[in-house]
């Protein structure tokens, strides 16, 4: 400061002997007001000036001076290249507007945070585009932490697994509202179109207490596209060689300076019958889906308010079974085995967020969601209808204690679920409600240590009053080395029928062996999850990479055991003994040359449960999995947008145990373990302009197929009929092409 004052005093002297540079600094806003008090200094010198009341400055000029720095607190500092002492007019941008500047640096399609205390994998929209198809269940094909497989051989339903356990043990939320649960557990992932998803966060292990007590192996949150940030117009067309057709359109428009709305339409259909393995059964169902969402976004930055109102409607009809099955004449008869699954679902949800503009650490969020779900279906001679109405409400308050290193999240949540199920002639009615309070404390010392400790207490009409503790810790051991640990408890009521709908596509008798529990006679499931992980960033040959290794163990205190070990029965009973899932995964990311990314992963599962017939490996869970992914994008020249993108994924699954088929006739007996399965997917995208791109891809290019996925396909009404022994693809290679058109 002093120096500058001296310089100003000396200025007249310089002015006589040397040439000078004059100029004016303005604020870069609509009114272009002059900016008094801005610092103007020659780079690398102490020669400078402060602008006067009219934003004017005068500064001595020498030929050696070539960089002029203009700065002012609250504005972006600019460096100007000066070649001659001409009069300068410059506009400084306020920093608060910096956020609006579009930054087009390359972001990693999927990344693991170095800072968060939880082991969170963020999957961006770039990663989602790697597998162009088509709904949330297919979005995990390029992610080694999630396993995707088919639930059965007839409904085409994809099921996901995390840490060796199926999706009911994962809390799946859309925008932090638990969404795929209860009646939508089986098919819900296919009810969220891929183009609606903006990003996905996968938390391995216990997860936060804020979203509830139900998560056991982890949490998956899907953020949907938002009216203010999504393209004004987006059209996606997709067609595949199996005759699957999809259309997605988004329209987003500003209604007023605070309100923006978006209408998102999704339609998909498959109306060609396929039977490549000649078992007389369709390889995939015929279906039609119409899915509509309308979002309203309110943004008021002056008051710190953001709000979303969402309306969703879905209608999905599937038909599957034998090729000659005709629902008109064959429904619920033994003419032909067939199935129809008709689902109608609507959702209304609203969110309001308030951030105190004066105290940025203080915020309040209120969420409420209501959904109605109706599924009418039959599978051969089995009828299954479910109606599920659900209400969820949540209030979160964020603040700090003493300073911003100690953060607190606290609030209350309420859930209400009513289930009405009909299985053949038996009615199951159930109402669940719970109210709970939670508190989560986070300490981050801005350096090595980050700890999150959460606790919630819930009062549930069927599960009782219980405490859910969760703890996460992150510690930076050395440069680019991050150690994480987590422990937490989860509790849930198992919706045994909705979650295990595949059992209806068998001739098995359904038996519930316990009678004293509150949920179908069974007790709630309780498990503890423990995990450790280590992440090490490195540089080899000057190129960045990282290695991640993690180990998780899920230990059930009680589990509803789903026992398929007798081929004519499926038995549900409370766990008596041990049940655990150990998961070890090691993953390597490396960029051997510019724009070429590779990911390799190996996973080992040890999942065992005490069945009535003994302690056995969990069926259909491979002990070993190997994953490889490579992607390459051509360099984009400045001002250009033409680009090629290539992506390839290889997956290998080790042998999987098949439940016992000993008491089947010899021709319907299966070996104890399945064969190994290898699949390969690839996709090419050509970007023509920011508005238009085309993609072409192949799924299962090796044409791997499981032989005879249906046991007793030749006698579907016999006592051995079973469609649940699925460990690999049923339909062979499938090729697809599509286009995306967007206007920003």
């Amino acid at each position: 400061m002093k120096q500058i004052i001296y310089i100003i005093l000396l200025l007249p002297l310089f002015a006589i002997s040397q040439s000078e540079l004059k100029g004016t600094v303005f604020e870069d806003n609509a009114s272009k007001t002059p900016l008094p008090g801005a610092n103007v200094i020659w780079y690398g010198t102490t020669v400078g000036d402060v602008t006067d009341f009219d934003g004017k400055f005068t500064i001595p000029y020498k030929k050696e001076y070539n960089k002029l720095i203009i700065s002012y607190v609250g504005y972006k500092t600019d460096t100007l290249l000066i070649s001659s002492p001409k009069t300068i007019t410059h506009y400084l941008k306020p920093t608060s507007e910096l956020d609006e500047i579009e930054i087009t640096s390359r972001k990693k399609p999927s990344s693991i945070s170095y800072l968060s205390s939880q082991n969170v994998i963020n999957v961006s929209s770039d990663e989602l585009l790697k597998a162009a198809c088509c709904n949330l269940s297919e979005s995990f094909e390029t992610n080694p932490s999630i396993d995707v497989n088919f639930a059965d051989a007839v409904t085409g339903t994809r099921q996901i697994k995390m840490l060796g356990l199926t999706s009911p043990y994962i809390l799946i939320a859309t925008e932090n509202i638990p969404s795929i649960r209860g009646a939508s557990q089986a098919f819900g992932l296919s009810f969220i179109p891929g183009t609606w998803v903006e990003s996905i966060q996968i938390t391995k292990g216990a997860g936060s207490v804020v979203n509830g007590y139900e998560s056991i192996t982890g949490q998956i949150n899907a953020e949907l596209v938002k009216p203010t940030t999504d393209d004004k117009l987006f059209v996606n067309l997709y067609g595949a060689s199996n005759a699957r057709l999809e259309l997605n359109t988004h329209f987003n428009t500003k209604v007023s300076d605070k309100w923006t709305t978006g209408v998102y339409l999704h339609g998909s259909t498959l109306n060609t019958k396929h039977d490549v393995n000649n078992d007389n059964f369709l390889d995939m169902p015929l279906y039609n889906q119409v899915n509509v969402m309308n979002r309203w976004q309110y943004t008021n930055p002056e008051k710190g308010l953001v709000s979303f109102i969402n309306l969703k409607y879905l209608k999905d009809d599937k038909q599957t079974g034998e090729i000659d099955f005709n629902p008109e004449t064959d429904k619920l008869t033994t003419n032909n085995w067939g199935s129809e699954i008709d689902t109608e679902r609507y959702e209304v949800s609203a969110k309001l967020g308030y951030v105190n503009a004066e105290l940025p650490w203080q915020s309040i969020g209120v969420q409420a969601a209501f959904s109605g779900h109706q599924q009418d279906s039959y599978f051969g001679l089995n009828t299954y209808d479910i109606e599920h109405n659900s209400l969820y409400a949540n209030v979160i308050y964020n603040t700090i204690i003493s300073d911003s290193r100690h953060k607190i999240k606290t609030g209350i949540s309420y859930t209400y679920d009513h289930y009405d199920e009909l299985v053949n002639t038996t009615d199951f009615n159930r109402t669940e409600n719970s109210i709970g309070g939670f508190l989560e404390y986070n300490y981050f010392n801005l350096d090595k240590l980050n700890v999150t400790a959460g606790l919630r207490v819930d009062r549930h009409n069927l599960l009782g009053t219980f405490v859910t503790p969760r703890l996460h810790l992150r510690y930076t051991t050395w440069e680019k080395g991050v150690f994480r640990a987590s422990v937490g408890r989860g509790k849930r009521s198992a919706n045994i029928l909705a979650e295990n709908q595949k059992l209806f596509s068998t001739s098995r008798n359904i038996n519930i062996l316990n009678t004293t529990g509150a949920i179908y006679g069974l007790d709630p499931e309780i498990a503890w999850n423990y995990g450790v992980s280590f992440l090490q960033g490195f540089r080899v040959f000057g190129r960045k990479g990282e290695v991640i290794a993690d180990f998780y163990r899920t230990d059930f205190k009680n589990q509803v055991v789903v026992d398929y070990e007798n081929a004519q029965q499926v038995n549900f009973y409370n766990l008596a003994g041990e049940s655990y899932a150990n998961s070890f995964q090691v993953e390597l990311h490396y960029e051997p040359f510019n724009n070429f990314n590779t990911r390799l992963a190996y996973k080992n599962y040890d999942v065992k449960t005490q069945f009535n017939s003994g302690k056995l490996e969990r069926p259909l869970t491979p002990k070993h999995r190997f994953f490889a992914n490579a992607s390459y994008e051509t360099e984009v020249d400045e001002g250009e947008s033409r680009q090629w993108k290539f992506d390839a994924t290889y997956n290998w699954l080790g042998a999987q145990r098949l439940s016992s088929t000993q008491n089947n006739p010899i021709q319907y007996q299966l070996s104890e373990y399945s064969k190994t399965v290898a699949t390969f997917n690839a996709q090419v995208t050509k970007v023509f302009s920011p508005k238009f791109e085309v993609y072409l891809g192949g799924e299962n290019i090796f044409n791997t197929r499981q032989e005879n996925p249906i046991v007793s396909a030749d006698n579907p009404f016999g006592s051995s009929f079973d469609t649940t022994f699925v460990y690999g693809p049923i339909f062979g290679a499938n090729y697809y092409a599509g286009l995306r058109f967007k206007i920003k």
Binding site: T77, T95, E358, N445, D447
Partner: protein, 124 residues
Amino acid sequence: MKSINLIKKVTLVLTFLITTVTFAQNKNERTSLEVDGVCLMCKKRIEKASLNTKGVKSAIWNVETHELKLIFDERKTNLETIQKSIVAVGHDTKTLKATDEAYETVHPCCKYRDEEVQEDHKKE
């Protein structure tokens, strides 16, 4: 006469204002000041030093603009104390300069007074 009256009034209002400012100690006072530094390591050091000053609730430093946004409890600390903590870890503010000893303690890549280091960070 009129002008004298005006001066009186202004003085009165000013005195009143000054006294209110002095007495109403804001527990969430917001200020921003310029702190010199070059990188994210500096950011960590500056923010940590600020938060380690008792009474500072929030400190966010911008690598590009060198602006440090502070929210602090005026009853517990003041801008000078905060600046002293920042200077003590080796970062200059506009009014206070870090001692050479303090400056020497920063990581070699954070030597913000060095032109070469400044240039290196600009390339990133």
